[in-house]
Subunit: 314 residues, 4 copies
């Protein structure tokens, strides 16, 4: 049985897993990252690889990192959380481990796991939307991960959906993730609770009466309890998701959208308005099947599984 190791580098920890050919995690390991120094983190990676190699034969290592990875899946061009620029991660880790290494953007790796082993298994054209604090994702076309010319494809969060709209940290305005993300959900709920407290009773109760203290968990909990403002906040975010999904359908003609990320834990609260909005806005609906909209099956381990499998298929 061919095993591969997947490594997920976050801002504060390195998590790794030994992954089999069906996407199952056979063993796992984790380390804190006391520093953002590349050499130090490479040493930590080598260390977890050694640990997981101890009892199994491993054929390759896949590393997922938040940031831009070059087209050769070798160098981290920019990693915002680690302040890395042009870091030759593949070569450095290969030297330390003696195994073939593939580097991938973490959202791409997670999307690959969903498309291969999760909600998208068996499908060829899959768009995975990771609805977390922001909005990211990955794209599978013709059964392969789509990476684009430079390896910076599928930056969905920065598609403009509202010209002149909300400011974005990318320097633009009206980016999709400013309307369809966990942060947007919170903003919407805070606005509703501020201007219409009468329909936000449960939400305000959870937040101690202070709209500015509302968190994403409050919104999900309140929505589950039937709070009208919280339900409306999910409808608004879902509607924006559906609008963007309709645009992606016009461009990509996929068979499936998978909704992942922390906000997708709210399940139907998010999926149902997103699907409805997609159906309302999709073009040429009379001549096509509307893509399905499903919830992700993997949780945070998606990045590890996807990175390992991409390394195995290198």
């Amino acid at each position: 049985m061919a095993l591969a190791i997947g490594v997920d580098i976050g801002g504060t920890k390195v998590a790794a897993g030994l992954v089999d050919e069906q996407g199952g995690i056979v063993a796992s390991a984790r380390r804190d990252t006391p520093s953002h120094d590349p050499a130090r983190i490479e040493e930590i990676i080598a260390d977890v690889v050694r640990e997981l190699q101890a009892s199994h034969e491993v054929e390759a290592v896949g590393i997922g990192a938040a940031g831009f990875v070059d087209a050769a899946r070798s160098t981290v061009v920019f990693a915002p959380n680690l302040a890395w620029r042009d870091e030759p991660l593949r070569v450095n880790v290969e030297k330390r481990c003696g195994l073939p290494v593939v580097v991938e953007n973490d959202a791409n790796a997670a999307a690959w796991a969903e498309a291969r082993f999760g909600a998208g298994r068996g499908q060829q054209y899959v768009v995975v939307l990771t609805v977390g604090t922001g909005l990211g994702g990955g794209l599978v076309t013709g059964g392969e991960l789509y990476r684009g010319r430079q390896g910076i494809a599928a930056e969905f969060g920065h598609v403009t959906v509202e010209p002149g709209g909300r400011r974005c940290g990318c320097g633009g305005r009206g980016c999709w993730e400013r309307y369809a993300s966990g942060r947007a959900l919170i903003l919407e709920a805070q606005e509703l609770a501020t201007v219409s407290p009468a329909i936000a009773g449960r939400l305000l109760e959870l937040a101690g009466g202070r709209p500015e203290a509302i968190t994403g968990l409050h919104v999900t909990r309140a929505a589950q309890d039937g709070d009208e403002a919280a339900l409306e906040a999910f409808r608004v975010i879902g509607t924006w998701l559906g609008q963007g999904m309709a645009a992606l359908t016009a461009v990509l003609d996929p068979e499936l959208f998978v909704l992942g990320g922390g906000v997708s834990a709210a399940g139907e609260l998010l999926r149902e308005p997103a699907e409805r909005s997609l159906q309302e806005r999709i073009t040429a609906r009379a001549y096509r099947q509307v893509p399905a909209v499903r919830l992700a099956e993997f949780g945070p381990e998606a990045g590890i599984v996807g990175a390992a499998d991409l390394a195995r298929r290198r």
Copy 2:
């Protein structure tokens, strides 16, 4: 030398060409289409194929049609100009001609010609935008034509760029082609000439003083003569093109946009503001090369050349 025939079915004529491996047209033929009856048009196609076959050996026939073509490149699901539904064009023409046939959406065929032999030759990730009355195009990824799950990808004109904006014939609002197309250019120029006649002197002169009589050719001519309103109309359309191109870059990470279609005959009047707008709006600009923006090299014959080549590569 392997020759293939490309056929372009329009609403009023069938145009065909014998195309060589370098995308050159060796011979051509054309017929009026007195009827939209599929059997009649299939007979006309067989007739032009026979004419072009008479003096050369032909290996395959590619047919481009305006409308949706299925994923097997065989059936015309819907052709608005011909009022066709689920027409098995490939099988019917193969029977009549005795040659292998491939059916493709006409904008996809034209885009393929540009990507293979025109402004995009040698490149792997190319987006062709056909700026005519409306806005269409095609997509080449990894050096192959991208067709999506059902063969209905690259319907760029119906990407929403302005939520709640101008109505579109597709039933939606705010579609890209309502802001970036020949029709949008005319509307913009008419509005400018109506509300600000003082800056639209040349434009109004060409249109006999009547804003509602302004045509696309008037706008191009007036812009070439320095008319401020006409130049502004091109800037507006170009800016919207650039906005959508920035969104496509976030999703697809291409190396090149090619601007084709009738409006692209205006050259730099269209390309320059489109490129500028793309550069201003593109995300992650510090970490990527901005895709190039070039004018198409083929004219109306692109569809014939592309269809023939796609048939040869079937």
Copy 3:
């Protein structure tokens, strides 16, 4: 019985009437204006006054002109149709006629007629909206015509209702008259007929099949015949009227809106959606009576009647 003369100066004619204290026109006169030269037009005004004076005793003359009139109701600061600047119309006409003269903006004069003798009689706070090619009107507060500091109040057409929206001849964008006027009605109907011809059958029939040939009369006629696109065009214009009326209600707290101008000849087709939109958007609706929305009772003679009455009350 105190009679006064009202004079309405248009771009191509001078129309005048002898008006009694109940707003009735006892006699009328009209002259073409072969020139825009102020002295020539003043002579024509004196001439019609003399004609109407011949058989009745007249106490004053009121003149309505399209343009800005100063706060002293004496000088035409700017008249776009006549190309006048700072024309001392009162003094010049008084010299020629020997009667007291009052000059007023024509929309103000017409609004005064409606508020005093027409749809607003007996009411103290009346907003008259003149929905013609553009959008103008007048304002009556506390039973008196409201003129503002410089005599340039009630320029309703240039209230911004859509920031960054349609260009306006005033140099701004998103002015109310670009969304709620006869011109806007036509644009809306043309757009609908272009993108959704299936619901615009009657409208297109009237316009000879050409969306760009649609006129305001076509839209009214088609709407009366039940054409869905024409009805939608009226709903859109009415909805924008209502939105602006809601804003004016927040500022002015009026008891009545009167809809006049050429488009108001469509009656309920315009009034009903305007009233509904006002009711939906009005603020503090739980604590106030929603202003009534009525159709004007006067036609084109409103300006003559209003100017005469304002002169009598000078």
Copy 4:
């Protein structure tokens, strides 16, 4: 010398002053309001009136209250902070005090003080905008307070400036106060500090590094220290103020706008961008004087001074 008493009823206190004919406060008094019961608050009002009457002769009492006051200036139709409905405040207080009483909306009272004795003295057409948590104000036309048909005029905060925009507690969307108020200033600054922390260094320092902890005082302080994000937040709010002022100018043709309320304490940081935006957007600018934009001269005592003067002029 004729003295009048002005009383300002807030949610937690009653503040009163003895006001002379020049708008000076000769003596003042204040009481906490332990309850929102109308009878209890009327007793407190009577009590402060007695205290201020002790040493001076008083001719009338003016009471300002947040809420809607009827056209007769007698009944509080609705007071949100006190949960009052149709409270006959004038009659009840007259019974207790034996003095003539006038009731007025508190923002109207404050606007009257500014127009009579403050930044607007000597002017006839004055719009006062109270930029506090929300946006309110008052309107003086022809030298008199404008009250409208039902006494609910000048509800500036709920003029729609952005159709479909931010939700408002009034149930609408896109109300002016959601874009031009203290709350809007904070939202804007929080957004900027979240998406562009690099230009919000001082602002984040004041807020302990937490965008959600930013207050209005932080924004003002940071702007005074040159923080680019805070300055931009003031520019945005000022620009929206100017847009609405341009709309009010088209309707009302005033000579002066006065900016009051808590946010106006920031002085030129607010006034300058508001004035610039008004100048850019005003219609018919070639034919009119642009209204002046001044900062209010009174602080929180404006309501007391205005209420007293309105009572004196009853």
